[in-house]
């Protein structure tokens, strides 16, 4: 069952990438997807205890989160752009290290949070250590932003099922 899902996923991606629907290309795709499924299907999902419904739920909630993240990315870029193009001394620049604690439990949740933090206004995750994150922030304003937990709650809702 698991292998069948992987195979169908790979084959769907093959069809999108090749864009050819004649028998030659489809059979090539069948063969290569079959070989990949046989050799390395166990690499794709390490945690298989989650049911198919849970995964589907994650997938459904992902677009909303992505759009919110996209908006944050644009805000962050405007922030950097403004700072880079300030004439003379850059007044807003005030780097600091911030340590935050997270309540996320799964590794993937932490990874998603760390990547989101790196993408949003003026903050980069330096290190994840257990449930603590070390963050470099570029100005006072962004250091304040990273301390409130809006993003963490959003990540928890998408990847760890329900409002924890």
């Amino acid at each position: 069952m698991y292998r069948l899902v992987i195979f169908l996923l790979l084959f769907g991606i093959w069809i999108i990438f090749s864009g050819q629907f004649d028998y030659f290309h489809l059979s090539l795709g069948l063969i290569s997807c079959g070989i990949i499924t046989a050799i390395s299907s166990s690499f794709f999902f390490s945690n298989r205890s989650k049911s198919f419904g849970t995964r589907l739920g994650e997938l459904m909630r992902l677009p909303g989160y992505s759009f919110w993240l996209l908006w944050q990315i644009i805000l962050s870029n405007v922030h950097i752009l403004k700072m880079a193009l300030t004439p003379g001394e850059i007044k807003e620049l005030d780097p600091s290290l911030v340590r935050i604690k997270t309540n996320l439990k799964t590794d993937f949740g932490k990874y998603a949070l760390a990547n989101s933090i790196t993408l949003t206004p003026g903050t980069i995750t330096i290190e994840i250590d257990g449930d603590e994150m070390l963050i470099h922030s570029i100005s006072k304003h962004t250091a304040k932003g990273v301390k409130d937990d809006t993003m963490e709650r959003k990540v928890a809702r998408v990847f760890e099922g329900g409002g924890q």
Binding site: G19, I80, P95, S96, L97, T118
Partner: protein
């Protein structure tokens, strides 16, 4: 016509963000702040430029063009995942190497573990 205008606008905005990133890399004071400019400018401007190119492709709405649009979107997703990861890898390497951090009041902090 409308699609052309939108895609040209998106590509131009992307280029502006790229310029912001490049200027930031030159002007910011230390390694960490430069990483901010490098890592973020690229992600967003790449996204906007690729989105512009993808929309331009939808000129004639045929299946092949939709597939090309899909492929371009796949590239975008790939960049969105890898770019922050590489930024994080670089900055962590720098941090563990003990590169000093520039701060507002002149003092320089090292590796504060």
């Amino acid at each position: 016509m409308i699609i052309d205008t939108i895609s040209i606008c998106l590509i131009c905005i992307g280029i502006v963000f790229f310029i912001g990133g490049a200027v930031g890399i030159l002007r910011f004071p230390d390694f960490y702040t430069r990483m901010h400019a490098a890592g973020k400018g690229d992600t967003c401007s790449m996204f906007l430029i690729l989105l512009g190119l993808g929309l331009y492709q939808l000129h004639e709405p045929t299946l092949a063009n939709f597939l090309v649009f899909g492929k371009i979107m796949f590239i975008t997703i790939f960049i969105m995942v890898t770019s922050p990861t590489s930024t994080h890898a670089l900055i962590k390497a720098g941090f563990e190497e003990g590169i000093k951090m520039w701060t507002r009041n002149g003092e320089k902090k090292g590796n504060v573990k």
